[in-house]
Symmetry: C2
Subunit: 204 residues, 2 copies
DNA sequence: ATTAAATTTAACCATTTGGTTAATGCGAAG
DNA sequence: CTTCGCATTAACCAAATGGTTAAATTTAAT
């Protein structure tokens, strides 16, 4: 009868369970009962701590977004050379998504379904603004340090190569005949591979 | 009382409506009533023509996948030079997704939610196999035509840069301060931009 | 025109689902 | 020990939802 008490408080357990279920099934596909079961508590507790499904989802979503975006903002704002910035961004961003592989699809998917209000909901105070990086790229192009390239495309390319493999993991694994271990190993490689690929393309 | 008859048959209208609703809300988020309303017919018709929600979804999903993948397979199997293949793949693939911008997120999202059986369901006879392209890249590396690069990373990079912008369009538009027109224009540019970027990176 | 088959609809049904409530447990303060 | 407030649960509820059915309407064949 003695319940093992190593587990965290109810609220924390709910949050972890909700994260797991929402990430896997999305807002519409998740069932409150699933979350309660996953947390090992009564369903009414979900409403006791978080008023509604939407409210609970918003907490999870905000936490997910705050896990994804602030780091981006920090790095692109640093005062370092473009090549270093590319190396640092790709490496550190890969590290984040390797640890949270479900985050990107979760966030992007729900953004696309809720075309309204998510902006404020997502980045409370600090909307990531890549225009700084864009300006830096433009400047380096004009100074003749790198080949002429549209800064917007360069940023898009960089983000694409960092994030897309995680979004398309199941498809990639089929198309490229990979198991989970191989995939993980490839993602580790990409921490440096992406930057090299980009720099090789734009350096003179 | 005279009903205008310019509209297509019921079955076709259902398919179009289902595509629209499923694409926007996903399998779990879509309501049969939404689809019926969108098609302008009675809800029972959905079950008359397609037995269940799942069956209807499968039809839409298969059509979507068959719109996305066969072209990929065709191009990567062609007997042309690597650079030409990269140019052709990126250009033609961009053309497809520009016309169907919701397809990638729709397909990838549902794949991630249904980790089972989707393989057969998706590519009936022709599972796209990139190992041919991988071998071609490997061969060109060994022949010394291009810089040494992991073929798998190269293919990943190429696919990422083609598809990701469409998946992340709303986020990109915020982060990069773009409206729909600018986005569309950028995607047009990418038809050639991506290939140039890749080739610049790997050519000797 | 008559009949038979296919199509379409309104009403209905069973289940699922988010949410509520009232009672119970329980630990801390008095 | 009692009381009080927070935490927890089982039972319940109303709305939503996928699906069914039987009747009505249209279409096509004889």
């Amino acid at each position: 009868m003695v319940k093992v008490k190593k587990e965290a408080g109810a609220e924390q357990r709910i949050l972890e369970a909700a994260k797991k279920v929402f990430m896997q099934k999305g807002l519409a596909g998740a069932r409150m009962q699933d979350i309660a079961d996953e947390a090992g508590i009564n369903k009414a507790m979900l409403h006791y701590y978080f008023r509604s499904k939407d409210k609970l989802f918003e907490v999870i979503f905000k936490e997910a977004a705050s896990n994804l975006f602030p780091k981006m903002v920090a790095i692109i704002s640093e005062d370092i050379s473009l090549f270093d910035k590319i190396r640092k961004f790709t490496k550190e961003y890969l590290e984040i998504v390797i640890e949270n592989p479900y985050l990107p699809l979760f966030v992007l998917n729900e953004i696309n379904k809720q075309p309204v209000n998510f902006h404020a909901k997502m980045f409370g105070a600090k909307p990531p603004d890549f225009s700084l990086l864009v300006k830096q790229i433009d400047s380096e192009v004009k100074k003749g340090i790198i080949k002429p390239i549209s800064p917007v495309h360069l940023v898009m390319n960089m983000m694409s190569m960092c994030v897309f493999p995680f979004i398309s993991k199941p498809m990639l694994q089929i198309v490229m005949h990979m198991d989970d271990l191989q995939f993980r190993y490839l993602m580790e490689q990409r921490k440096t591979e992406i930057a090299n690929f980009i720099i090789d393309s734009i350096k003179k």
